[in-house]
Symmetry: C2
Subunit: 261 residues, 2 copies
Amino acid sequence: MSSGYTTEPTTLVWTQTAGMPVSSLTDPALEDVRDLLDTGFEHGEMITLVGRCAIDYDGRASSHLPPGERLVICKPDGTLLVHRDEQRKPVNWQPPGSTHSVCLDDDRLIVESVRSSPHEELEITFKTVAQASRLELDDMSELALEGSEEDLRQRILADPDILETGFNAMATERETSAGPIDIYGQDADGTPIAVELKRRRVGPDAVGQLNRYVEALERNRPGKSVRGILVAPSVTERATELLASEGLEFVSLTPEQADTS
Amino acid sequence: MSSGYTTEPTTLVWTQTAGMPVSSLTDPALEDVRDLLDTGFEHGEMITLVGRCAIDYDGRASSHLPPGERLVICKPDGTLLVHRDEQRKPVNWQPPGSTHSVCLDDDRLIVESVRSSPHEELEITFKTVAQASRLELDDMSELALEGSEEDLRQRILADPDILETGFNAMATERETSAGPIDIYGQDADGTPIAVELKRRRVGPDAVGQLNRYVEALERNRPGKSVRGILVAPSVTERATELLASEGLEFVSLTPEQADTS
DNA sequence: GATTGGATCTCGGGC
DNA sequence: GCCCGAGGTCCAATC
């Protein structure tokens, strides 16, 4: 059962798994691929295509990709992905909410995906398809993720002294004319503090962000000084210089409690 | 040939396409999936798995995803993607350069992917696999994309007057202590100008970025005024306020020549 | 719908 | 390797 592979140059293979619906065609005629896509789109199934195709995109930008062999994924929520054999990002795609369609044009299979607001079109032209599959995926679980900026915030709110002895957190997402401050509070002397949180090492952009908030607070309270503290695991050299030139401060903290075993 | 599907509850299907190597197992024993993965990893092929699995990730952050049916893609460059039936982004992944391995543990198939620098681990535990495929994708084409910030830069360099009459572009990526300026130049009066380009509508972050560059230039030339111009198709209200409060300017331009047909 | 900023962002270029 | 900013960023939360 485990070792005896049988090599079959099949031109049309249809299989239906009992537990997890997977219907697949191997080396199919484009006509059959069209039917599979129509059925899959109608039933709200996920579809994977492997084949040689060219791709044209027009929308927020525009692109052209000459023919090559790729993996195409159409999700029931309107997502479309085109993956090459390298890179984490799809070479082309459509976001969720797009509408997929398929048509046969002479000896080419054309998969089209259209989105509105903004209007975007993706056209995939297949010359050959090596594999086409319909997948009905049942997945109700939710991802539990730790180590986000939100975890860093909770860590500070649970024990404000880890930021600075006597720190008093008074608000989160406190609004300013420049945007919301992650944590707004006061130091032991009652001086206002704007705290900007980052879950990882920060560069100049985070300093600019904190500076905008501090300046917005100072504009509202002329004459009264406001401290700005950037909280992150670490900071780059250029960001350190910017912090100094703006009179801002840095405190090193990670989202996760350090392992003190 | 087109309509006569045959329904076969196949437990082991192996097909080898001539033109485009695609080897696939449908509803296989986990032992066979392990062999397919080992072979695929060794030959540098792309692999797709469809099945019910749980996923644990630990690295820059950490996450746990309870069992569910998903599509897993392993690329020969070390990329690993786990896709659910919705969303454009994979629910879990490993970046290119990771090392994949597989092992059979009792009645579970475990696919592991490890990366170093930073160290990250991804572990996928399959209870059942509905489909496993090896793909050898031949794709030498390169994506041609239009409408990038680089196109906007070229547009201005080709005709500086579209930014402002008499503008003189003197350098691109001109270095400052706060980072490189997209275009550095002078106006008709000889006043220095820092130009920050964005291919799409901009918010407060772009204003902060431009402001950092302008302040860096002014720090180098005390007393001498420096203009800052943000170039983008449009700008949000809050960004407009920030521009005003910082004494910066805005010019509306898109990466693409407007259609004047 | 527009806005805003986080993200295991990814990715490329420069040093 | 780190740093830095672009991206068809995607995405959720908020207004």
